[in-house]
Amino acid sequence: MKNIIEITNLSKIFGKFTAVDKINLTVREGEIFGFLGPNGAGKTTTISMLTTLIHPTSGTVNISGYDLLNDGVDIRNIIGVVPQTFALFPELTAQENLNYIGKLYGMSSSKIKERSKQLLKQVSLYTYKDRITGVFSGGMKQRLSLAASIMSSPKILFMDEPTTGLDPQSRIAMREITQKLNKQGITIIYTTHDMDEAEKICDRIVIMDKGKIIADGTSAELKKLMIPDKVLEVKTEKLEKETLAELKKMHSVTAVHEKDNGILNITVKKDEHIFYELTDFFKKRKLFLEELKYLEPSLEDVFVHLTKKDLRD
């Protein structure tokens, strides 16, 4: 597969703050490219630069043969962006919103009519096309936002956390549409907080932290990064903050990830007698230890391991 986006030494500095620090990346044509990282990692800044919304401080970007700095108009012609917010006009109907975006692209009225009908059907909003969008549910708004973003039939679609704040059903619907679009040949750059989601739909994943790319590969490749470590799942009662801190200080423990219902994922160094040490730890504190077992590492564990941060922090 050929590269559709090539990023070389791309940086963005706001005053004294380096938001993006000399990153190098390639996106291949036709893939769903997962872009992960905690808040403030520099993902949105990177996406804003790639979509011509802000100027890079340094570095070069080539998008489908066009240079980011010189061919802004050409690039805007081949990309679509689904922003984090609705970013359409709640006072307008679904149809009117699409008409407006179509006109700003300079599309003809007949083309707008044809394309919007097709897209509204594709995102299951055709029956609601003449409703004011202000009363739409979150999922409907996001689907309309997606339709607006692909009005001009882009080759590349940037999706900035498109499922954040949606109910599970809407998430699934959104994911399905995304995969369908990808099958139609659109390259997708997908930013998300949801590890399961990334694991499910992304062909390749990049993890960004503090303005740098810290991991790049398929889901399986990233998990291999965990090899020196193992992950234990511990089922116990809800722990105090102090107890958690002490647990993290144990010399064989590299990370502790607190999940729901008193379940902890503890990353430990390989070849340690950690089972004994951990049971002793809980026994001493008179804490009830229900279950203790080795786990196959998840992408979330990889993330926590690499960034030392919880994804939703």
């Binding site: 011509t52 984090q84 359409l88």
Partner: protein
Amino acid sequence: MKEKKRNMENEKYAEKILNFKKIGAIIQKNFIVLTRDKTRLIPLLMFPLFMILVLGYTTGNIPKHIETGIVIQDNSALSQSIQQSIAQNQVFTIKRVVSTEDEGKRLLDEEVIKVLIEIPPDVGKNVAEGQQQGITIIVDESDSAIAQTSKQTITSIINQLSNQISAKKIQEYQKSVDASGNSLNKYINAIPNDYSKIYQDTKASAKAISKTKTVLDNTAQLYRLSLPQPILIALTTETITEYGSNQTSNKNGTVILKNSPGYNSLAAEISVLEKTSGILDIASNNLNSAVKTAGQDAVTDAYLNDNSYQKNVIDALSHIKMFSYVKANNLLKPLIVVDQSAYGNGLHAIDFLMPSLIALIIFQSAVMGMGRAVAGEKREGSLTRVFLTPTSNITIVVGTLLFYVLFELTKTILLILFSIILFHIHIEGSLLLIALILTIYVSVCAALGMIISSRVSTEQQFMAMAMLVSIPTIFLSGAFFPVQAMPKTLQSIAFFLPVTYAGEALRDVMVKNFSLGLTATPIFVLLVFFVVIVGGALITFKRDIE
């Protein structure tokens, strides 16, 4: 088939600098958004109307039907016509007519009346004798609107009456001077039989003319006495020279004096009187010489041989002719208003105030309306989506500005209609010229709002920034406080505010009925603002969404 192929190849959309179709789309979108967003539309429409209502009533409404009392102390026709003129004016409603000042003052104390107008005793007889009579107005100063309006109105009523009387009197003088001149005509060509009759007639004519001259001289003297004293501006010595001329100095230093308000107009009237009197003086001198000739023993010789009598009479007649052309009204002032304010030209305060008020309200409304235009759409992200389309900055700015300019102009028309209905303001000048001024000014205001709006990222920040320009505009617009009375530093701030020039241009056209040529200066300054601020809006509008 071709269409489909292009579609598959990913049709390329060009970005023109100025795309009118896209501008149209932006205008249409803004129109739908605004008309559907009632919570925003209604306040935006109501704001200027509410402002003009509150400000119009609190600052410059003309009171009507003010309860008035009149003191009439004689039974002359003049007293009655003064009373009638007051009664016919809708500012005053005559509640009581009394015959003594004390009685009138009591009514004022009891608040039965708000204004007392006192006609002096024997006013008819005194005016007929050529004396000046003062009509006194006593008004409760605590209500400044009533005080100001009633003083202005009574001044204009009395001035009108005074002019009428003056015209009538001067015309009488002109007639009698004419008649006495004409009576001598027959002696110029015909050879008289009775020289003593020539002598008598000539003497009578000279006397009649000099009597008229005395009336004018007395009036001029009266005016001179009432010339206001100049105001002392600077004094560099302890002793002031006695007032003699406008500017005077003494050996120890310099005294700088400035004419008081009203000085120039009165001085001009004195000069007209003096000139007229001068004409009559020449005529009467000529006739006096003729009288001398007619009275001589060798009268026949003088009359027949050297024609000196005829020459003098012809000269006198030409000056009498000149006198008959003198404008008759306003030359004499038989009636004046005592306690009149300087502001007495008959126009209502609201007419002066309204242009500034309208300029101020347009400014507030147009600048504030732009908050959502850029900052709001930036916050909501919809502007970002527009940035992602191949639409140039200029197209976005022009489209957005054009919509708001059209919207604000519509509001302005409503505002003016509203103030015509509510405050009965008069529009004297050309509506086309007013529309031109408003279009330039509204564009300036909207573009200013746009510049602020595109420099900030939320509507809250916008409000804070907009206050910076709106506060000086409110206080220096001239709508509430006269700018001329402010310290120089504040006046120089007003120099940089568009509202100053819009108010001036609107006043020139709306009130003074100036043509484009006469009000060119403020319109030119507004055009400069237009170029700078609209240009600024185009340049400062950045795509970067940092």
